[in-house]
Symmetry: C2
Subunit: 121 residues, 2 copies
DNA sequence: GTAATTGGTTACCAATTGGTAATCGGGTTT
DNA sequence: AAACCCGATTACCAATTGGTAACCAATTAC
Protein backbone atom coordinates (compact mmCIF):
# COMPACT_ATOMS: atom_id res chain seq x y z
CA UNK A 1 0.00 0.00 0.00
CA UNK A 2 1.32 3.35 -1.00
CA UNK A 3 1.51 5.85 1.82
CA UNK A 4 0.36 9.39 1.37
CA UNK A 5 2.57 11.94 3.02
CA UNK A 6 0.77 13.85 5.75
CA UNK A 7 2.14 17.33 5.96
CA UNK A 8 1.80 20.01 8.61
CA UNK A 9 -0.77 21.96 6.71
CA UNK A 10 -2.78 23.65 9.43
CA UNK A 11 -1.96 27.29 10.04
CA UNK A 12 -1.58 26.64 13.74
CA UNK A 13 1.07 24.08 13.07
CA UNK A 14 2.96 26.17 10.53
CA UNK A 15 3.00 29.14 12.86
CA UNK A 16 4.32 27.04 15.73
CA UNK A 17 7.06 25.53 13.61
CA UNK A 18 8.15 28.94 12.37
CA UNK A 19 8.07 30.35 15.87
CA UNK A 20 10.27 27.57 17.22
CA UNK A 21 12.67 28.13 14.35
CA UNK A 22 12.83 31.86 15.09
CA UNK A 23 13.37 31.34 18.79
CA UNK A 24 16.08 28.75 18.28
CA UNK A 25 17.91 30.98 15.84
CA UNK A 26 18.01 33.85 18.28
CA UNK A 27 18.92 31.72 21.28
CA UNK A 28 21.33 29.28 19.64
CA UNK A 29 24.82 28.64 20.90
CA UNK A 30 26.53 27.62 24.04
CA UNK A 31 26.38 30.86 25.98
CA UNK A 32 23.24 32.91 25.38
CA UNK A 33 21.09 31.30 28.05
CA UNK A 34 23.90 31.60 30.58
CA UNK A 35 24.40 35.28 29.84
CA UNK A 36 20.69 35.97 29.90
CA UNK A 37 20.28 34.02 33.11
CA UNK A 38 23.09 35.96 34.73
CA UNK A 39 21.62 39.28 33.63
CA UNK A 40 18.19 38.19 34.84
CA UNK A 41 19.68 37.69 38.28
CA UNK A 42 21.99 40.70 38.52
CA UNK A 43 20.02 43.23 36.45
CA UNK A 44 22.93 45.47 35.41
CA UNK A 45 26.41 44.23 34.67
CA UNK A 46 29.61 45.47 33.09
CA UNK A 47 31.64 43.56 30.57
CA UNK A 48 34.26 42.38 33.02
CA UNK A 49 31.62 41.39 35.57
CA UNK A 50 29.98 39.15 33.00
CA UNK A 51 33.34 37.77 31.98
CA UNK A 52 33.97 36.74 35.58
CA UNK A 53 30.47 35.55 36.32
CA UNK A 54 29.73 33.50 33.22
CA UNK A 55 31.97 30.58 33.96
CA UNK A 56 34.50 29.78 31.24
CA UNK A 57 33.48 32.28 28.57
CA UNK A 58 36.24 33.99 26.59
CA UNK A 59 36.09 37.75 25.94
CA UNK A 60 35.71 37.15 22.24
CA UNK A 61 32.63 35.01 22.73
CA UNK A 62 31.13 37.34 25.29
CA UNK A 63 31.62 40.26 22.96
CA UNK A 64 30.08 38.42 20.03
CA UNK A 65 27.12 37.06 21.95
CA UNK A 66 26.37 40.45 23.47
CA UNK A 67 26.41 42.06 20.03
CA UNK A 68 24.12 39.35 18.68
CA UNK A 69 21.62 39.78 21.45
CA UNK A 70 21.79 43.55 21.28
CA UNK A 71 20.91 43.34 17.59
CA UNK A 72 17.99 41.10 18.45
CA UNK A 73 16.89 43.58 21.10
CA UNK A 74 17.21 41.23 24.02
CA UNK A 75 19.79 43.30 25.87
CA UNK A 76 20.78 46.95 26.01
CA UNK A 77 24.26 48.39 26.01
CA UNK A 78 24.89 51.70 27.73
CA UNK A 79 28.21 53.50 27.81
CA UNK A 80 28.64 55.35 31.08
CA UNK A 81 31.05 58.27 31.12
CA UNK A 82 32.73 57.46 34.40
CA UNK A 83 36.41 58.08 35.10
CA UNK A 84 37.44 54.87 33.38
CA UNK A 85 34.72 54.43 30.82
CA UNK A 86 32.34 51.62 31.74
CA UNK A 87 29.67 49.83 29.77
CA UNK A 88 26.49 48.53 31.31
CA UNK A 89 24.54 45.62 29.94
CA UNK A 90 20.98 44.89 30.95
CA UNK A 91 17.96 43.02 29.69
CA UNK A 92 15.48 44.94 27.60
CA UNK A 93 11.75 44.48 28.13
CA UNK A 94 11.89 41.90 25.38
CA UNK A 95 14.78 40.18 27.11
CA UNK A 96 12.84 40.10 30.36
CA UNK A 97 10.11 38.11 28.66
CA UNK A 98 12.59 35.24 28.44
CA UNK A 99 12.50 34.95 32.23
CA UNK A 100 9.84 32.23 32.40
CA UNK A 101 11.52 30.25 29.62
CA UNK A 102 14.89 30.31 31.37
CA UNK A 103 13.27 29.40 34.66
CA UNK A 104 11.47 26.50 33.01
CA UNK A 105 14.67 25.33 31.37
CA UNK A 106 16.52 25.37 34.69
CA UNK A 107 13.68 23.56 36.44
CA UNK A 108 13.52 20.93 33.74
CA UNK A 109 17.26 20.39 34.02
CA UNK A 110 16.95 19.91 37.78
CA UNK A 111 14.03 17.50 37.40
CA UNK A 112 15.84 15.59 34.68
CA UNK A 113 18.94 15.16 36.76
CA UNK A 114 17.03 13.99 39.80
CA UNK A 115 15.12 11.45 37.70
CA UNK A 116 18.39 9.98 36.49
CA UNK A 117 19.67 9.89 40.04
CA UNK A 118 16.62 8.01 41.28
CA UNK A 119 16.93 5.44 38.52
CA UNK A 120 20.57 4.78 39.32
CA UNK A 121 19.85 4.04 42.96
CA UNK B 1 40.12 50.97 43.00
CA UNK B 2 40.70 47.31 42.56
CA UNK B 3 37.56 45.31 41.96
CA UNK B 4 36.88 42.11 43.80
CA UNK B 5 35.35 39.39 41.65
CA UNK B 6 31.86 38.44 42.78
CA UNK B 7 31.27 34.82 42.01
CA UNK B 8 28.09 32.76 41.92
CA UNK B 9 28.69 31.11 45.24
CA UNK B 10 25.20 30.38 46.49
CA UNK B 11 24.09 26.78 46.10
CA UNK B 12 20.87 27.91 44.48
CA UNK B 13 22.83 29.69 41.82
CA UNK B 14 25.26 26.85 41.18
CA UNK B 15 22.43 24.36 40.86
CA UNK B 16 20.61 26.55 38.37
CA UNK B 17 23.70 27.07 36.26
CA UNK B 18 24.42 23.37 36.21
CA UNK B 19 20.82 22.58 35.36
CA UNK B 20 20.81 24.98 32.44
CA UNK B 21 24.06 23.46 31.21
CA UNK B 22 22.58 19.95 31.42
CA UNK B 23 19.41 20.92 29.62
CA UNK B 24 21.24 22.74 26.85
CA UNK B 25 23.55 19.81 26.27
CA UNK B 26 20.66 17.40 25.85
CA UNK B 27 18.60 19.75 23.71
CA UNK B 28 21.34 21.30 21.59
CA UNK B 29 21.32 21.31 17.83
CA UNK B 30 19.12 22.45 15.04
CA UNK B 31 16.54 19.67 15.07
CA UNK B 32 15.76 18.30 18.53
CA UNK B 33 13.00 20.73 19.40
CA UNK B 34 11.39 20.23 16.01
CA UNK B 35 11.41 16.46 16.37
CA UNK B 36 10.14 16.61 19.92
CA UNK B 37 7.45 19.10 18.95
CA UNK B 38 6.32 16.86 16.12
CA UNK B 39 6.19 13.82 18.38
CA UNK B 40 4.33 15.82 20.99
CA UNK B 41 1.67 16.52 18.40
CA UNK B 42 1.43 13.17 16.66
CA UNK B 43 2.22 10.81 19.58
CA UNK B 44 3.54 7.86 17.56
CA UNK B 45 5.52 8.18 14.37
CA UNK B 46 7.63 6.02 12.12
CA UNK B 47 10.99 7.01 10.73
CA UNK B 48 9.74 7.98 7.29
CA UNK B 49 6.81 9.89 8.78
CA UNK B 50 9.21 11.99 10.78
CA UNK B 51 11.43 12.43 7.76
CA UNK B 52 8.50 13.88 5.85
CA UNK B 53 7.04 15.88 8.67
CA UNK B 54 10.18 17.52 10.04
CA UNK B 55 10.78 19.96 7.25
CA UNK B 56 14.19 19.75 5.63
CA UNK B 57 15.86 17.15 7.84
CA UNK B 58 18.11 14.56 6.19
CA UNK B 59 17.86 10.86 7.14
CA UNK B 60 21.34 10.95 8.60
CA UNK B 61 20.47 13.77 10.96
CA UNK B 62 17.13 12.28 11.91
CA UNK B 63 18.81 8.99 12.70
CA UNK B 64 21.49 10.64 14.79
CA UNK B 65 19.15 12.89 16.71
CA UNK B 66 16.76 10.04 17.44
CA UNK B 67 19.63 7.94 18.78
CA UNK B 68 20.83 10.84 20.92
CA UNK B 69 17.44 11.40 22.41
CA UNK B 70 16.81 7.70 22.91
CA UNK B 71 20.04 7.50 24.90
CA UNK B 72 18.90 10.44 26.98
CA UNK B 73 15.56 8.72 27.54
CA UNK B 74 13.45 11.37 25.92
CA UNK B 75 12.01 9.11 23.26
CA UNK B 76 11.36 5.41 22.85
CA UNK B 77 12.04 3.25 19.81
CA UNK B 78 9.88 0.21 19.20
CA UNK B 79 10.34 -2.24 16.36
CA UNK B 80 7.01 -3.59 15.17
CA UNK B 81 7.03 -6.93 13.37
CA UNK B 82 4.62 -6.01 10.61
CA UNK B 83 4.92 -7.35 7.06
CA UNK B 84 7.46 -4.73 6.14
CA UNK B 85 9.17 -4.11 9.45
CA UNK B 86 8.28 -0.75 10.94
CA UNK B 87 9.75 1.27 13.78
CA UNK B 88 7.70 3.46 16.04
CA UNK B 89 9.07 6.48 17.84
CA UNK B 90 7.26 8.12 20.71
CA UNK B 91 7.99 10.41 23.64
CA UNK B 92 8.79 8.77 26.95
CA UNK B 93 7.31 10.12 30.18
CA UNK B 94 10.52 12.14 30.53
CA UNK B 95 10.10 13.42 27.00
CA UNK B 96 6.53 14.45 27.75
CA UNK B 97 7.77 16.70 30.53
CA UNK B 98 9.33 18.87 27.83
CA UNK B 99 5.85 19.78 26.62
CA UNK B 100 5.53 23.03 28.62
CA UNK B 101 9.03 24.11 27.63
CA UNK B 102 8.35 23.58 23.94
CA UNK B 103 5.03 25.34 24.22
CA UNK B 104 6.70 28.26 25.99
CA UNK B 105 9.40 28.42 23.34
CA UNK B 106 6.83 28.50 20.54
CA UNK B 107 4.78 31.15 22.32
CA UNK B 108 7.83 33.27 22.94
CA UNK B 109 8.75 33.01 19.27
CA UNK B 110 5.29 34.15 18.26
CA UNK B 111 5.32 37.04 20.72
CA UNK B 112 8.81 38.04 19.61
CA UNK B 113 7.84 38.10 15.97
CA UNK B 114 4.73 40.15 16.58
CA UNK B 115 6.70 42.68 18.63
CA UNK B 116 9.12 43.17 15.75
CA UNK B 117 6.21 43.53 13.37
CA UNK B 118 4.57 46.21 15.48
CA UNK B 119 7.80 48.17 15.67
CA UNK B 120 8.25 48.12 11.93
CA UNK B 121 4.82 49.60 11.27
C1' DG C 1 11.06 -7.82 -13.82
C1' DT C 2 11.23 -3.17 -12.40
C1' DA C 3 10.42 0.24 -9.34
C1' DA C 4 9.35 1.90 -4.90
C1' DT C 5 9.04 1.83 0.19
C1' DT C 6 11.05 1.00 4.83
C1' DG C 7 14.77 2.10 8.18
C1' DG C 8 18.59 3.24 8.14
C1' DT C 9 24.37 3.60 7.21
C1' DT C 10 28.47 5.33 4.95
C1' DA C 11 31.81 8.43 2.77
C1' DC C 12 32.85 12.82 1.80
C1' DC C 13 32.74 17.76 2.31
C1' DA C 14 31.55 22.74 3.72
C1' DA C 15 30.25 25.86 7.13
C1' DT C 16 29.73 27.23 11.66
C1' DT C 17 31.15 27.36 16.33
C1' DG C 18 34.19 28.09 19.66
C1' DG C 19 38.90 28.38 21.85
C1' DT C 20 43.79 30.60 22.60
C1' DA C 21 46.60 34.17 22.69
C1' DA C 22 48.02 38.57 21.51
C1' DT C 23 47.01 43.28 21.02
C1' DC C 24 45.01 47.99 21.64
C1' DG C 25 44.13 52.71 23.57
C1' DG C 26 42.79 55.17 27.39
C1' DG C 27 42.92 55.68 32.22
C1' DT C 28 44.48 54.69 37.05
C1' DT C 29 47.11 53.13 40.57
C1' DT C 30 51.71 52.59 42.77
C1' DA D 1 57.63 55.44 34.80
C1' DA D 2 55.76 50.63 35.23
C1' DA D 3 52.16 47.91 35.62
C1' DC D 4 47.36 47.03 35.70
C1' DC D 5 42.22 47.49 34.68
C1' DC D 6 38.52 48.38 31.25
C1' DG D 7 36.15 46.91 26.98
C1' DA D 8 36.92 45.07 23.58
C1' DT D 9 39.12 43.28 18.60
C1' DT D 10 42.10 40.46 15.73
C1' DA D 11 44.53 36.47 13.79
C1' DC D 12 44.80 31.87 13.83
C1' DC D 13 43.29 27.20 14.58
C1' DA D 14 40.57 22.87 16.02
C1' DA D 15 36.37 20.63 16.67
C1' DT D 16 31.70 20.09 15.95
C1' DT D 17 27.70 20.41 13.16
C1' DG D 18 25.26 19.63 9.39
C1' DG D 19 24.46 18.70 4.34
C1' DT D 20 24.66 15.66 -0.13
C1' DA D 21 24.52 11.63 -2.21
C1' DA D 22 24.93 6.98 -2.64
C1' DC D 23 24.04 2.54 -0.92
C1' DC D 24 22.00 -1.59 1.70
C1' DA D 25 18.61 -5.66 2.43
C1' DA D 26 14.00 -6.93 2.66
C1' DT D 27 9.44 -6.63 0.89
C1' DT D 28 5.73 -5.23 -2.02
C1' DA D 29 3.20 -2.92 -5.76
C1' DC D 30 2.78 -2.44 -10.77
Amino acid sequence: MKKEAVYNTTDLCKTRIGAIKDALEILSGKWKFHILGTLLFHKKMRFMDLLREVDGIAPKMLSKELQDMEMNQLISRTVVQTKPITVEYALTDMGETLGPLIKELAEWGIAYRSTLYNKEK
